[in-house]
């Protein structure tokens, strides 16, 4: 294989740790993204869309004079 010299295990370990840590981060990020997209698609399929999510029109209250 490669001649990595006397410290081969450290070099391999460093690359392995970087690979595992960044790989896990990538997998977790992509999985989260997928999950949110699935949830959103699911909600929209059931007819709950952003249009229906539009808040009910807010109250526009008025102040009336009730006494002199």
């Amino acid at each position: 294989m490669l001649g990595l010299g006397p410290h081969a295990s450290f070099i391999i370990a460093a690359y392995a740790v970087a690979f595992v840590a960044l790989g896990a981060l990538t997998v977790a990020t992509v999985a989260d993204d997928r999950k949110q997209r699935r949830l959103l698609a699911d909600l929209e399929r059931r007819g709950i869309t952003r249009r229906s999510a539009k808040p009910r029109p807010a109250a526009t209250p008025t102040v009336t004079r009730t006494a002199p």
Partner: protein
Amino acid sequence: MTFSLTNLANPTRFLNFAGTVIPWLAALTVLLLGVGLYQAVFVAPTDYQQGETVRIMYIHVPAAWVGMGCYAVIAIAALGTLIWRHPLADVAAKAAAPIGAAFTFVILVTGSLWGKPMWGTYWVWDARLTSLLVLFLLYLGLIALWQSIEDPGRAGRAAAILALVGAVNLPIIKFSVDWWNTLHQPASVFRTGGSTIDPALLTPLFVMGGAFLALFVLLHLIAMRAEILRRRVRVLQQTQVQQAQIAQAARA
């Protein structure tokens, strides 16, 4: 830049933009990582002092660039949240924190694995490593704060304040650690850099730097998209609850 900023301010436009860019960026990341790793492992010559262990540098140093740059991204996003109230700033900061923490973790571990053969010990309280450890703790604090506050608006502003407090403190921490270090360790044990790096070492370093940068941008875009969608899902679920209430009221 102004074009992209004004255009991307709208989350929906951002989602479209992310959807187009992400596949290309993924391809670029894979390409750069492939080339960079090949060069770092097979092509780059060994260092006359450090021997083969110099190969750790090709992940350690680029990770350091990204891990520290990521905090700058968070700090700028914090300004965006507090001053300009940009709708995406808070999303950008929240998405960046775990990525920054992961990269900083890689810096610390690879640094210590590089240190063992070089210094004979896994950890020295070297000024640089120590400051990075503090940076890692700041990332953890930010993530914990985001997870502890339920209301996204308050969480965003609180985290932005903490990020800025950290940004003000980091130089002071770096300075005091430097000073502390000279006090305790008069002889510097560790000198990378200097101006004597062989260009043959530099090319793979920059390719790996580009690869990590591309990986960061890619992950950041994906995480931001996930965060925007998470907030939409939350709103829709709240609507669902309201509609259920209305239906119940109508039946009654």
